[in-house]
Amino acid sequence: MIETRHPDALAAILADGRRKARNTMLNGGLVAVAVVAAFVYAGAFDAGRYVGALSTIAQLTNDSMPPDFSRWPKWGKPLLETLSMSVAGTALGAAFALVCGAVAARNVVRTPWLGGPMRLLLNLLRSIPGLIWGVMFVAAIGFGPLAGILALAAHSTGMLGKFFAETLEHVEPGPGNALRSHGVGHLGVLRFSVLPQILPRLVDVTMYRWEHNLRAATTLGVVGAGGLGLEIITAFHLFEYREASALIIVLLALVSLINLLGARLRARFLGGT
């Protein structure tokens, strides 16, 4: 026992520690129960479901080997379609997100009746899945990559807008105040203090989103936005598994290429102005 002139304070500290330990145990237990319940509900513990799974996967893998690249001259157009969908969709989404994110950031726009609805709009854009956006835009403006671009932009605006707003909220106010004391206006503070501070995060998140959008653009092909996705799903429907696997390898190469490009861009933007 510790000698102290404040036994009550010591007892309170120890009681607080016991309560925190109890809460940690309780919360951990609740999370574990929720996770197990999710597996049970999804039927993950139903052994019957796994019978024959391995042999089917082995069969499918066998059927798609070796990959068949023989139709490659016909892939140029869908490849470019998917790539351009991802580039245009990301750029459009990032541009909207920059404006929406600035309005949503609590330290940039201080009028709550403007920031609140904008945060709600960003939540809405984000909570509608990309595929649903795809179905909606295909219905609205017809088949093709344009519907895909708009679908990607809608979802990207929601996601990037939230990121940008949070990044803006964490900007150091000191350098901006220094500029203000030298007579620099609001726009100048954004340009010379805020932008240099958030640029690496902006580039980083946007590059990550581009990579995500390339995969999303492929999926959008399934609902009518064209591109590589349409080729892959058609190959599957025709049981051309060897061609489908070749297309997936092409997609993998494209994603890796973008990753590489992203890493270089990030490295560049982490240095000076």
Partner: protein, 255 residues
């Protein structure tokens, strides 16, 4: 070129509460004034009024030959000729030292200009870095610099403006005492070479005595003490002691 400033019956409110009451001071051109006093007496508020971040609720601040700060045109001109050094340096960590110094010239550039900093501006920034002895660290990011180097960059960012009035809000508070002494000595040389009017918030009386020509004590938003630094004697010390009974660090640092 230094500048004289006259503060007349200045009253400033913050969040609806008066922080400065009826302050009157004349700061001659080329003088170095130290503002001392415990936290919350309005030292930073007075600085923020001098650089136009806050506007007075009563009284005037007049820059000699420029005009009153409560009028837009003189305010613009006064700010153009003022530079501030901050306690926490207020640097952008990921930018190189030279780019942080260039930020001192941001008011000379249009915010939407896509052009990079000009060669003349870069030369001017390099010169300012050279003045504080950091030219060899120009391309190092602010985050990689030591506390003393960061403060020197902060001073260079102020000097690059070629100001007439230099404000310093506890400019040596975030470095250790030995380094603070060295920076203060360098600072004095720089100020003398450039012939600036200087106002510094300092919380160490010893530093105020060695750096300033004049020591102004604030208490409860009023001037409670105003004397030349050379004549600052034992009686003044006890006056300061009486004025700031809760601040141990101030009397302790007088030796």
């Amino acid at each position: 070129m230094s500048i004289a400033i006259t503060i007349d019956n200045l009253t400033v409110h913050r969040s609806g509460r008066p922080v400065l009451h009826d302050i009157s001071l004349h700061l001659p051109a080329g003088s170095i004034t130290a503002l001392v006093g415990p936290s919350g007496v309005g030292k930073t508020t007075l600085m923020s009024t001098l650089n136009g971040l806050l506007s007075p609720h009563g009284g005037t601040v007049v820059f000699d030959g420029i005009g009153r700060l409560d009028q837009p045109r003189p305010l613009r001109e006064a700010r153009r000729r003022t530079a501030t050094v901050f306690q926490d340096h207020a640097l952008i960590d990921r930018l190189p030292a030279i780019d942080n110094v260039l930020l001192g010239l941001a008011d000379t550039r249009h915010p939407l200009s896509p052009l990079p900093w000009s060669g003349a501006q870069r030369r001017r920034a390099a010169q300012a870095l050279d003045e504080v002895g950091l030219l060899d660290r120009a391309t190092a990011r602010a985050a990689q610099l030591s506390g003393g180097e960061r403060q020197r960059v902060g001073i260079a960012r102020a000097l690059v403006r070629r100001p007439a009035l230099l404000l310093g809000d506890e400019p040596f508070a975030s470095v250790d005492p030995a380094l603070a002494e060295r920076l203060a000595a360098e600072f004095r040389t720089l100020v003398a070479r450039n012939g600036l009017t200087v106002v510094l918030v300092l919380h160490q009386l010893s530093m105020a005595r060695s750096l300033a020509d004049r020591i102004v004590g604030l208490g409860g938003g009023r001037v409670v003490f105003d004397a030349p630094a050379q004549s600052f004697g034992a009686a003044d010390e006890s006056a300061v002691f009486r004025t700031f009974p809760d601040t141990k660090e101030i009397p302790c640092s007088v030796n």
